[in-house]
């Protein structure tokens, strides 16, 4: 399918911003990239090869049905009262394989891969995820309406929070 080159560039820019704002800890600017009704979903693994498919009836690592979920996380981080979040892990996101999958009505779908290297009290580790994004154009501005993070790692060491994903 022929997807507008400008759109591809916009999508890549937005995903790069999203992950960079997390690493730079610009939490409010990061939240702003999401529409108020944005869904943020980290499925869990049903078995070795399959993630859950229905977040309403199956257990997830995270499932926020609107932007409030990530706002809660930022509230907790900024409180400086969360044992796991002080000192805060340092993170670097490396995103690649950004592909615009399609444009459907007003929604744009994209996929990407992400490696997040984090360094904390117990040392450094790298976790990998598959990203599924959906965007909507609000007054010529792309907003995230879905970020689905399929974290491929299990036997998780240390906390897993929005800045690791």
């Amino acid at each position: 399918m022929d997807i507008d080159t400008n759109l591809k560039r916009e999508v890549a820019e937005l995903i790069n911003w999203e992950t960079t704002l997390l690493d730079r800890r610009e939490w409010d600017d990061w939240i702003d990239l999401f529409a108020e009704d944005a869904v943020y979903w980290v499925p869990s693994w049903v078995d070795e090869e399959h993630t859950v498919t229905d977040p309403e009836t199956q257990l997830n690592l995270m499932y926020f049905q609107n932007r409030g979920g990530i706002e809660d996380r930022v509230f907790r981080i900024e409180s400086r009262d969360s044992y796991a979040s002080l000192p805060l892990d340092r993170t670097v996101h490396i995103v690649s394989n950004i592909l615009v999958a399609g444009v459907d009505d007003e929604e744009i779908s994209a996929t990407a891969n992400c490696l997040v290297h984090s360094f904390g009290k117990q040392g450094g580790q790298t976790r990998a995820s598959l990203y599924d994004f959906k965007f909507r154009k609000n007054d010529a501005v792309l907003k995230i309406i879905l970020k689905k993070i399929t974290l491929i790692d299990d036997k998780l060491e240390g906390p897993v929070d929005v800045y690791h994903l």
Binding site: W45, M62, G68, F75, S82, P159
Partner: protein, 442 residues
Amino acid sequence: MDGSFQKSGLEALVDDRVDEGVFRVDRSIYTDQDIFEAEIERIFEKGWVYLCHESQVPEVNCYFATDIGRHPVVVVRQKDDSLSAFINVCSHRGALLTPKKQGKAATLTCRFHGWSYSCDGRCVRIKNEKEGFGEDGFDRSQYDLNPISKLASYRGFIFGSLVDDVEPIEEYLGAAATWIDLMVEQSPEGLEVVPGSSTYVIRGNWKMQLENSVDGYHVSTVHRVFASTVRNREERESLKGLKQTEGGRLVGIVPSGAYDLGNGHMSIWAQHTTPERRPVFKKKEWLEANLPAAHVEWILEKGRNLALFPNVMLMDNPSTQIRYVKPISADRAEVTVYCIAPVGEGAEARSARLRKFEDFYLTAGMATSDDMAALEDTMAGSFASQAQWSDFNRGLKTMTHGADEGAKAVGFDPVSSSESWENETLFFGFYRRWRDMMSASD
């Protein structure tokens, strides 16, 4: 550490002089690798351990792979609906038999040299048997899978033992059985483990996870931020009903209690200030019509955590959890969490139960993650042999021997009762059981 574990040292490690106001443990029980090796042999491989829930092996030929100490074990549903459990190892070269943790297979075929076993453990096929062992009636049954010595179900919770010399499961559970009853009797259709799980690794000792699950004292410190976060959420979004979080216990303003249930089992409870936010509240009418009043009160109005010696915790709060711990080394443990829920639960209640679980019980959530950070700091501190003692004497002076009013009303007989979940006298039972199993004669 000289490679040998001394039984005679145990008296020194668990300093049990309650009449003198002392109960303390030497923190080397968390850090010493020789002690860890002895725990595997003397506790995990010589007594009952939790294996799985019956809903994880729902149909004939379903299997669930787990461990007892260093032994891989598989639980298999038989043709007559009973359960069996075997050492999950091919008799030929010792390969793990099951390809996945959970599955369904009429025969388990080893993918190395092709030997096959029926679900009742019989060796039914050896590849090229005649060529290898001759025509004259070779007896394959010598290669049947080894069943584990004991397997028992208590109301759907499956336990196993590698040794015969264990008490019947009801006796082993003792007063803890009533705590399981309180979970199970909420649902006339039974309980089921919901699909999806998470495993996290503690860079710390397995016993710390058991302790943490029945430690009420940390809640108003470690989970203060959870309470403030959900309060902020509820104001921001004007949430209603089941979407709200029950938080009274988090800020330390409610009645609570703790029990040494005997045999190493422990439990705590805390009163709900808003029981209507609990998924089970939807069943209030049915509960009142079918269960004793004291049970209904404890089911609806009290959050409860149960720690079963040595390796599983059952939480029955607004959300409901099986927390399973697998010890890896003195400073490493793997914990797997599952949401357990009533069969036939309505969509709104089920969704609320899962969202509450995700809020609290995962290292991707806003509470367990903080607990684990605390445990890992405790592990780091436990290497300081010059500061070696952990005192568990908080609440000793107000401890009741036997049952308090609550225990009598519900109908269980604990070794001791405490008037606050912040007290630590319930840990006496855990460490006495630990000491007794570690010092048992061979």
